[in-house]
């Protein structure tokens, strides 16, 4: 209880409020911009976090994480162009409503959905994290190793349409994480005699390059949107419309719960959460035929589902140290950069930090909701920002952000190389998330693998001797075998 109160005090400190407000505004702005998204915002703000305390740094990035989902719904409703992929589902009903001159209703439902989904998921996070943490407290290295491999497998399987590229990028990410001096053995690995590589490839230039520079180069070609048609009847949201959305409370709760539990799973959770929430709302609705033609309930369900994902993905991150997606992988790197290692003991060792995170997430949702509701038009106008200015600005901020971290030109070189590679991957639509997961999960899996094999005297048979690892391995086998079995069945039916 005292942890909760201390966390509340820390969350309401001026520095934290400022950080989460800036993060939310940056997140909304990047979420509104189709083609950029919260990942670019988080990558850009990453160098700014080094001079901040851990809880303030996390609030800043969490603000971008959550704010991005809030912002993504705006262009989906107004222009049928989702700011973030998961808001695509919001456009199914949001845009028809806008076409009928009911943009206020559509945006109100999307915003209420986002707020409701966010709050419900935080509530579940607070309840579930200690329970999972208690289970995880009995984990040893083999269990962590199995859980981490399971997480990576889920990411690979979630991109099963691009299984080859996903595997290549995961492997490449793992390999990149091994470059430099190996901590436990102090052996140089793949340094090619270059002194600067001895310290390894820092995650900040890699992520800033992949997302900041890579996405900017792509932005130069694709542009953002060229539109003069933003059908807003007023500059802010009509609060009477917002209150009207309370009648969909059942859909709100259901979608929030779905989103949270989908967020627990690694992979492209927010898209799946939106689709499942929308589909469930349609099935349960007395007027399912209205879905797709413009019903506020559809917007609300979709946004509640996708906005519940950030808190959902925090559950495995905080309790097991396993990130659910690229955005939480970046949060994990912030924890590690600050010398904090997420896991079951984190809730015991750092109760104030965890409690501050809970309160901060709550505040982020409220700040993002009110900021967007009150300044809807200025944020909607962001879609008119000139792509060339944005691209040049992002590249410059990325490089300026990297240089002072270690004062090494080498890091800027790494970022530029990563940017070129990231551009190529983004243009070819390869699952860049797999690469980030590989880079972040590589050291975790390597350490656990070593410890597991040491426990088993060089044999992985120890994994089959422990009940939890057996369960995780069976689950892993199922998620790998199920799609393969379906494909083989499809071939057989085709042959017949």
């Amino acid at each position: 209880m005292s942890g909760l109160v201390d966390g509340l005090q820390a969350a309401f400190s001026i520095a934290n409020i400022l950080a989460l407000s800036i993060g939310s505004v940056v997140g909304i702005a990047f979420g509104v911009l189709p083609g950029l998204g919260p990942m670019v915002g988080m990558a850009l703000l990453l160098p700014f976090t080094f001079s901040l305390s851990p809880e303030v740094a996390l609030s800043l990035l969490l603000g971008v994480f959550c704010g991005g989902y809030y912002g993504g719904g705006v262009p989906a409703v107004l222009l049928r162009t989702p700011g973030v992929p998961s808001s695509m589902v919001t456009s199914f009903d949001g845009f028809p409503l806008t076409q009928r001159g009911e943009a206020q209703t559509a945006l109100s439902s999307a915003l209420v959905g986002s707020l409701g989904g966010g709050l419900i998921s935080i509530f579940i996070l607070i309840l579930l994290a200690p329970l999972l943490s208690r289970v995880a407290a009995s984990f040893g290295s083999p269990e962590y190793f199995a859980a981490a491999v399971f997480g990576v497998l889920l990411v690979v399987v979630s991109f099963r349409q691009q299984l080859g590229p996903s595997l290549i990028l995961i492997g490449f990410g793992f390999w990149l994480s091994t470059v430099g001096i190996d901590g436990p053995t102090l052996s140089a690995r793949y340094t090619f005699g270059i002194w600067s590589i001895q310290n390894g490839l820092d995650i900040v230039p890699l992520v800033l390059g992949l997302f900041g520079i890579g996405q900017s180069l792509l932005l130069l070609e694709q542009g953002i949107l060229k539109t003069d048609h933003l059908n807003l009847s007023r500059g802010s949201l009509d609060f009477s419309k917002i209150l009207g959305m309370v009648r969909y409370w059942r859909t709100l709760i259901r979608s929030g719960v779905i989103g949270t539990f989908v967020g627990l799973l690694p992979g492209p959770g927010s898209v799946l959460a939106s689709f499942i929430s929308y589909d469930m709302a349609k099935r349960r609705s007395p007027q399912p035929e209205m879905f797709g033609r413009g019903t506020p309930e559809g917007c609300l369900a979709s946004e509640a589902g996708n906005n519940a994902v950030p808190a959902g993905s925090m559950i495995p991150l905080l309790t097991l140290g396993i990130p659910g997606e690229a955005l939480s992988a970046l949060l994990l790197s912030v924890f590690i950069l600050n010398g904090i290692y997420p896991g079951p003991l984190l809730l015991v060792k750092e109760p104030v930090l965890i409690s501050t995170l809970y309160w901060s997430m709550l505040l982020i949702n409220l700040v993002a909701f009110f900021v967007l509701a009150l300044w809807l038009r200025p944020f909607a106008m962001i879609v008119r920002a000139p792509a060339k200015v944005l691209a040049v600005a992002i590249v410059i901020v990325s490089l300026v952000g990297i240089y002072p971290v270690n004062l090494r030109l080498f890091d800027c070189g790494v970022a530029l190389a990563a940017g070129l590679f990231g551009y190529l991957l983004l243009r070819m639509k390869w699952p860049i998330v797999s690469l980030v997961m590989g880079i972040v999960m590589g050291p975790i899996i390597e350490n656990r693998l070593r410890e597991t094999m040491s426990l088993g005297d060089g044999s992985l048979a120890i994994l089959f001797e422990r009940p939890i690892t057996v369960v995780i391995l069976i689950l892993s086998l199922v998620i790998v075998a199920l799609p393969l079995w379906r494909q083989v069945r499809g071939w057989r039916q085709a042959d017949v």
Partner: protein, 173 residues
């Protein structure tokens, strides 16, 4: 449709560039796998599973395995795959900006944050064809001011003295 038809049709759907990239990465992985005993200092602890080589080998093996289908498609169905990447041609604007930005870190170290940001923002906007010269200079000045305020005044990030100052001091002294 049989399995081989399936593979062939999936090869047709996807431009060859995807398979080429996958195969190149796969080949690089195989080369690194073969060279790993020489590229990794193995004077660390025995046995093997505690050493520095086991995980990189697994990582490279995953990369190589992931590239096998692409390599097979490239060898067997290359005549049936589409040639262009996405029909958008070569990204000249992006390439120009990238080439310019490769020089930016050196300028950052040599002439400092403000001067390099202003110069490269103006040059970058000019290269990408954004607006009139006065507008370009105005935007570059705004970017410079924002970065100066954010990094130096608000975050108090330390940047080393520009190299050019040392040169001037050396010449003067």
């Amino acid at each position: 449709m049989s399995r081989s038809d399936d593979a062939a049709s999936s090869a047709e759907e996807r431009p060859r560039a995807h398979d080429v990239l996958a195969a190149v990465l796969g080949l690089a992985a195989v080369a690194l796998l073969a060279g790993s005993p020489w590229l990794v200092d193995r004077s660390g602890p025995e046995p093997f599973y505690k050493g520095p080589l086991i995980f990189p080998l697994i990582a490279l093996a995953i990369m190589a395995a992931g590239s096998v289908p692409a390599a097979v498609r490239l060898l067997l169905f290359s005549a049936r795959t589409a040639q262009p990447l996405d029909g958008r041609g070569f990204p000249w604007t992006a390439a120009r900006l990238f080439a310019l930005m490769c020089c930016f870190p050196f300028a950052l170290a040599f002439i400092g944050l403000e001067a390099s940001t202003f110069l490269f923002a103006a040059a970058g906007l000019h290269l990408t064809g954004h607006g009139r010269p006065l507008l370009v200079l105005g935007i570059a000045a705004c970017m410079t001011a924002i970065l100066h305020v954010a990094f130096k005044l608000i975050l108090d990030v330390w940047f080393p003295a520009p190299g050019i100052l040392d040169l001037i001091a050396g010449a003067g002294g």
